[in-house]
């Protein structure tokens, strides 16, 4: 017990020259801490540049969309005053026509009418032509009334929906990419609704990604558990050999392994050939095992298996054989001992392995891209599409952010259930 003064507060311990012990200790360890900091500094910098900044950038992009204000700077300032009823006032139309005339002259990336048209087209599919066509002719409108003149140019300018959309995108920040990423949109009355069934792609793919990842994780666990058990219990020489076989895939390029599966599983591939040769199936009914979900599952299980085996193995390695012996000496059958004594002790390994495999699986890209065909695609393939093909980086970022959120949620749930401190990764 420390001395407690009359007030009930423990008295601070001091060194012989009266400096509080804590201060003195802090001083003494300061140098050490500085050294430690210096040692980890390169890693911290690397993490900052390679991890924190890109993620920050991604999160920022998913809500930041300055095209409206960039292309129509003055219009963006005044449109906010419109209450959304009927059509905007004449003054707003005037500013719009002038901004459009200016914008037509610009060819700076991010500030052209084309950019604006693309942006609005995300919100109202098919509206692109309205903007490009109007932009060509808008310079002819030199005097009011601007409203009538514009509507005369194209009937569609009478549509409230266009103006509401323009009002919405005239801010630098927007939630519309998250809406798009969750198959939602604003309807003509500015309410958030489900997208048309035809355009609902992201949620189903996200759902499929989660389901396939869970399935892959489960299959990995089923295969990895006995293998890890063997690894942990076999004599050293045999288990080393087995370990090399487990690690072998790590030493082979991902691409090679994936294409090997193509060679194995395609309709003219080895597996089908053997099945046909042994007359299990007929020549006409060769099974489609690749370029679909089956292909994705098989190849991903293969690739992710070591990530399940290693944590399981490292946990099982620490479980001495005498627990099972003790259980059996107490009268339990082998199965009962396994279920009640061995299995519970491997849970930290199962938790670590499933968490690892699941997280890797929901973000997996290259394997589904190569062997997934169209129905074996996962959400990351869509993200890659948006980054590389459609160049809608903001939507890609929003999808990425949702994926990140899902990973964090799973991590949180695991932490609640198992405790992250209990995880054993190797």
């Amino acid at each position: 017990m420390t001395d407690v003064t009359a007030s009930g507060v423990p008295e601070a311990i001091t060194t012989s020259d009266g400096v509080p012990l804590k201060v003195s200790l802090a001083r003494a360890t300061r140098r050490q801490r500085m050294q430690a900091l210096l040692l980890v500094l390169p890693l911290l910098l690397f993490l900052l540049v390679a991890f924190v900044l890109p993620i920050g950038e991604m999160l920022f992009r998913s809500v930041y969309s300055p095209i409206g204000p960039n292309v129509l700077p003055n219009f963006s300032k005044v449109i906010h005053e419109w209450d959304g009823e009927d059509l905007p006032p004449e003054a707003v139309f005037e500013v719009f026509v002038k901004d459009m005339t200016e914008a037509k002259k610009s060819n700076e990336i991010g500030k052209t009418v084309g950019n604006l048209a693309t942006r609005v087209n995300y919100e109202i599919p098919g509206s692109r032509g309205l903007f490009t066509k109007s932009a060509r002719k808008v310079k002819n409108i030199t005097e009011g009334p601007y409203k009538e003149a514009l509507i005369a140019l194209d009937k569609r300018w009478e549509n409230q929906h266009i103006w509401r959309t323009l009002q919405r995108i005239s801010s630098n920040y927007t939630a519309s990419f998250y809406l798009a990423a969750t198959d939602r949109k604003y309807n003509e009355d500015n309410e958030i609704v489900r997208a048309d069934p035809l355009y609902q792609i992201y949620l189903p793919i996200l759902g499929k990604t989660l389901w396939l990842s869970a399935l892959i994780t489960f299959i990995c666990l089923l295969i990895a558990y006995p293998v890890s058990y063997l690894l942990a219990t076999l004599p050293l020489r045999t288990s080393n050999l087995l370990m090399i076989m487990v690690l072998l895939p790590f030493w082979t390029s991902l691409l090679v392994r994936t294409t090997a599966w193509i060679a194995m599983l395609q309709t003219e591939g080895i597996v089908n050939n053997i099945l046909v040769f042994t007359r299990v199936i007929s020549e006409e009914s060769r099974i489609q095992m690749i370029y679909n979900q089956t292909g994705t599952i098989v190849a991903m299980v293969h690739i992710l298996l070591p990530f399940m085996i290693l944590p399981l193995y490292s946990v099982m390695k620490t479980i001495p054989p005498y627990y099972m012996r003790a259980a059996r000496s107490l009268g339990a059958t082998g199965t009962y001992s396994f279920i009640k004594v061995y299995f519970p002790q491997t849970i930290p390994g199962i938790a670590a392995g499933t968490l690892l495999v699941f997280i890797l699986a929901i973000g997996y890209y290259i394997t589904p891209a190569l062997v997934g065909g169209s129905d074996g695609l996962l959400i990351s393939n869509l993200i890659a599409d948006h980054i590389k093909k459609t160049l809608n980086w903001s939507l890609g970022s929003a999808l990425g952010a949702i994926l990140l959120a899902i990973v964090l949620i799973f991590y949180w749930i695991y932490n609640k259930l198992v405790g992250v401190d209990n995880l054993k990764f190797g």
Binding site: R325, A326, A327, R328, S329, L330, G331, G334, S337
Partner: protein, 360 residues
């Protein structure tokens, strides 16, 4: 109760870890297997518990051969060296495990667990995890778990190996006490000879897969049958020589390598001309003994004196051996010795045992 008949065991098919083991253990007996590391004690225990098959021979439990009975059907309680308490279960759950396996109801289980916790004096600890107990407490729980389902036979493999000396001694007493009050048969493994001597009814001294001697602690100490046992149990003075003759009174005449002629009790020697190792306990050796009919005397030179309070440990060179120990009691009439001094040492011929010479 337990019977090993010509049991042999080999792990690799090349060397025998247990060689021709024959052992009978009576009901209620406390038998200890004592021996150096690697002598096959654990292996023997594992064969009895059913975790290792015997390579040859038969083991009987209550008269029935059990070679083909799986471990969980043998009904043998076992205390492991590392306790093997299940880390993910509380103490009470650990203790209830063998009861649950046997299909006892929850209330029965609780009753038994409570009783057994009281027996090992840990009534308050049922809710804790094994990791939250001290080594001694874990040890008690391990003993309790091996006893809770009331087996007739309990095996303990170096159960006190991990404890410090004081706790060991206390636990030795407690285990012995439990054994006496419950009347279970105990087969105990240790490589601590004082533990074996204080606890057991009989001790089996293992060496190299063979039981060298199986007898009561007193027998073992007073009348070792071979030189290994004599060396292994307690302290011993060794003198090497050759047998000249074995008389009718079982006394052998031995010519020591130094040339001295002595008489000793023939135990492990028969024929004339055989090499022998004479063994005599330090406490049976006297300085300048009174001569009686069978007193053996030799001259010795004092090499070193170590004062130990109640006795003075004296290292001497006798008949060419420089590590001859004499315990001189620190009583009123003891001889004052000084280093370098030459004197006579002597003992009764019956106290000196002529054993086989392992080195020969």
């Amino acid at each position: 109760m337990v019977r090993f008949q010509n049991v042999q065991k080999s792990y690799d098919g090349e060397t025998l870890v247990v060689k021709d083991l024959n052992l009978d253990i009576a009901t209620g007996e406390f038998v200890t297997m004592l021996g150096p590391s690697g002598s096959g004690k654990t292996t023997t225990l594992m064969m009895l518990a059913g975790f290792e098959p015997a390579t040859h021979g038969e083991i009987y439990l209550n008269g029935n051969p059990i070679n083909n009975v799986p471990p969980h059907k043998r009904g043998i309680g076992m205390v492991f060296q590392n306790y093997a308490l299940f880390p993910h279960m509380s103490v009470a759950e650990n203790l209830a495990f063998p009861l649950a396996v046997r299909g006892q109801s929850k209330s029965e289980q609780e009753d038994r667990v409570k009783k057994v916790l009281e027996m090992v004096e840990l009534p308050e600890f049922g809710g804790r995890r094994p990791a939250q107990l001290s080594g001694g407490q874990q040890q008690r729980v391990a003993v309790a778990r091996a006893l809770v389902f009331e087996p007739d036979l309990v095996l303990m493999d170096e159960p006190l190996g991990a404890l410090d000396k004081q706790l060991r001694e206390q636990m030795q007493y407690e285990i012995k006490h439990i054994h006496e009050s419950l009347g279970v048969t105990v087969v105990y493994v240790t490589h601590d000879q004082s533990e074996a001597l204080t606890m057991s009814d009989r001790v089996a001294v293992f060496e190299d897969g063979i039981i060298q001697q199986l007898s009561s602690p007193e027998e073992l100490y007073e009348r070792p049958e071979n030189s290994f046992v004599a060396q292994f149990i307690g302290e011993n003075n060794k003198l090497r020589g050759t047998v000249l003759e074995v008389g009718r009174d079982k006394l052998a005449t031995v010519k020591l390598d130094s040339g001295d002629m002595v008489k000793a009790l023939a135990v492990g020697v028969g024929a004339k001309g055989e090499r022998t190792l004479l063994s005599v306990r330090p406490e049976r050796v006297a300085i300048e003994p009174k001569k009686t009919r069978n007193t053996v005397t030799l001259t010795g030179k004092v090499e070193e004196l170590i004062y130990l309070g109640d006795h003075i440990r004296t290292r001497m060179s006798v008949a060419g051996h420089t590590d001859f120990i004499v315990k001189v009691p620190n009583n009123a009439e003891h001889h004052e010795l000084s280093e370098g001094q030459t004197t006579t040492v002597g003992w009764q011929a019956e106290d000196c045992r002529a054993l086989d010479d392992m080195a020969a």
